[in-house]
């Protein structure tokens, strides 16, 4: 083929530069929001760190649900395993360096991802969903019974992480934990942007649309999905470890069906199949929850439900997906 044709093919591609621009814009948005949050809610950094940890869980869920089409209501198993791995490493093995705890969390999350993947990927559709629910209950019950390791229903307390990098104490105000969380989120977000755009990301999108077609191309959908599940586990494990390090306690709620279901709600709220959607959903849901539960402690769940119904009915692509769609149409009209 001629060089000219080659250039032609490259230049007519839908903006490689624009994609890079969106990456940087996304990263800038995360950092800007982080700075804004720091100054707007200086007394509530713990909540912001919690939001960051949950954002990692929702991003992780987006990888398997949004990008691969796997139906799961048990994704907190990966998050909780990461949290317990980091916590147990600190309490029972004296590994109190935050970065090592993080590594343990990532490992724990990945292993849980492997286990859940092996089970969940055996089925499709509704049976898959049921398997995922069964799994999260099994994980929860296991953690409850193994109380000598996990603290059972009292939670795993006594996690005392060392100063970060030997310098930054995890202070009472939660500043170090917050900055640590934001850095983790920014790093994970950047890596995931690369992954979803990579050949592997493309393969996964193909599997979501038509696994039979992928097989006819000579690729194994199951193997690819397993790999994505392990990656997803690493991301959720990062979130879990962050939660363990920042709150210095791991409770059974981090391995709960409720958290699994909530993370799916957040993802749907923001928009599946988009990393921005996952972030948007988490932030909106967590803030909304915080706001309405303070305003009306008894009926706040009703309001969360109403918001979800409104989004599903009127913005089925999720908040981010809908806004992005409107903006790109607007952009198209006025360009």
């Amino acid at each position: 083929m001629t060089m000219a044709a080659m250039n032609d093919a490259m230049t007519s591609a839908p903006g490689k530069g624009r994609k890079l621009g969106r990456d940087l814009a996304g990263l800038a948005a995360i950092l800007a929001l982080a700075v804004l949050g720091y100054f707007l809610f200086p007394n509530n950094l713990a909540l912001l760190t919690r939001i960051t940890a949950i954002a990692l869980l929702v991003l992780s869920l987006d990888l398997v649900t949004g990008y691969c089409g796997v139906a799961t209501l048990g994704h907190a198993a990966l998050f909780g395993s990461g949290a317990y791995a980091a916590g147990i490493a600190a309490v029972h093995f004296g590994i109190t360096d935050p970065l090592l705890m993080l590594a343990c969390g990532i490992l724990g999350g990945s292993l849980a991802g492997l286990v859940c993947g092996v089970v969940i990927l055996r089925a499709h559709g509704l049976p898959q969903l049921v398997l995922s629910i069964a799994l999260i209950h099994l994980f929860h019950e296991f953690a409850n019974k193994a109380s000598s390791w996990t603290g059972g229903s009292d939670g795993l307390a006594g996690i005392a992480p060392d100063p970060l990098l030997g310098h930054f104490e995890f202070d009472l105000w939660g500043r170090t934990a917050y900055v640590f969380g934001i850095v983790l989120l920014a790093v994970v977000f950047t890596i995931l942007r690369l992954i979803v755009r990579s050949p592997f990301g493309m393969l996964c999108r193909g599997i979501k649309e038509d696994p039979i077609r992928i097989r006819a191309m000579g690729a194994s959908p199951k193997l690819a999905l397993m790999k994505m599940y392990v990656i997803s586990g690493a991301v959720a494990g990062t979130g879990g470890a962050l939660n363990a390090i920042s709150t210095q306690v791991v409770g059974l709620d981090s391995l709960s069906f409720t958290l699994s279901a909530e993370s799916l709600v957040m993802l749907v709220l923001g928009g599946t199949g988009s990393l921005f959607g996952a972030l948007t959903g988490t932030i909106v849901f967590m803030f909304f929850e915080d706001l309405v539960s303070a305003a009306n402690p008894f009926h706040w769940l009703t309001m969360v439900g109403a918001l979800l119904i409104a989004v599903v009915l009127f913005a089925p692509k999720g908040l981010y997906g809908t806004v992005a769609g409107l903006v790109s149409r607007w952009w198209g009209t006025f360009r």
Partner: protein
């Protein structure tokens, strides 16, 4: 003649009914074979047996002289047996460029790569642009598949199959559902298939069969009743009978 693709005494029954009954055939590189037969002749079962989506009761499937009977569908694709689908199976949200790039990357064992983007891989893009250019899809390469015409989607099916660099290509009704005005493009694409590729086309459209094939195999009631040149097939009394329907009934007793 060294066969690149061979089927030996393939048998498969469903509940006592032999849907594929002792089929044997061999193809050499460059062969252009059309497989035809009336409805219910067992063409679909044959395709599923050959591609590995269905296990035979007995018999053998060989690619390049090696038996692949015990190898699954994915393994057969990797050994060079590639199929296209009767009803297009494409990713509606993806572009033609992404389809072909994914096939190229998969063929080279790079579809599991976690970094880089195919648009930034010059060697992949060169192949994508060349292949889509050959099939007249270059201008559409960055459109979504859901936005392109059905005839073009059929061409893309062929492009994806070719990107896998097959040794044997199984085309399942490549012109099915394409408006008359577009069949010319498909026929041209079929005429331009690589010369050393062995092509087995399953087709209903007899005009297309006569223009494309240099050898015609007629399947009826699960057995091959004719294997010869296109010019002879219409004269064959057994073929005529099969298409009139009486053979299909007689086949059950056999």
């Amino acid at each position: 003649m060294s066969a690149i693709f061979e089927v030996r005494n393939l048998k498969r029954s469903f509940g006592g009914l032999a849907v594929t009954n002792d089929i044997s055939l061999a193809m050499a590189p460059g062969d252009r074979v059309a497989l035809i037969g009336p409805n219910g002749a067992g063409k679909t079962t044959f395709v599923n047996l050959v591609t590995g989506n269905l296990a035979p009761d007995s018999g053998d499937v060989l690619i390049g002289g090696d038996s692949v009977t015990r190898i699954d569908a994915i393994g057969r694709v990797r050994r060079g047996l590639v199929r296209s689908f009767q009803v297009t199976r494409l990713f509606q949200e993806m572009t033609p460029a992404e389809h072909v790039a994914l096939a190229v990357l998969q063929r080279d064992g790079r579809s599991g790569r976690l970094f880089g983007h195919f648009l930034a891989m010059p060697e992949v893009m060169a192949e994508v642009a060349e292949l889509l250019g050959k099939l007249g899809l270059r201008e559409l390469m960055h459109r979504r598949v859901s936005e392109i015409a059905y005839g073009q989607q059929r061409l893309l099916e062929i492009a994806v199959a070719l990107a896998l660099k097959p040794k044997v290509l199984l085309l399942d009704e490549p012109a099915a559902g394409v408006p008359q005005s577009d069949t010319g493009r498909i026929e041209q694409a079929l005429a331009d298939l690589p010369a050393d590729l062995a092509v087995l086309m399953i087709e209903h459209d007899m005009d297309l069969v006569f223009r494309f094939a240099r050898r015609v195999i007629v399947l009826a009631a699960g057995t091959i009743i004719f294997d010869g040149s296109p010019s002879e097939v219409t004269k064959n009394p057994r073929v005529r009978e099969a298409y009139l329907g009486s053979y299909a009934n007689a086949g059950h007793a056999a």
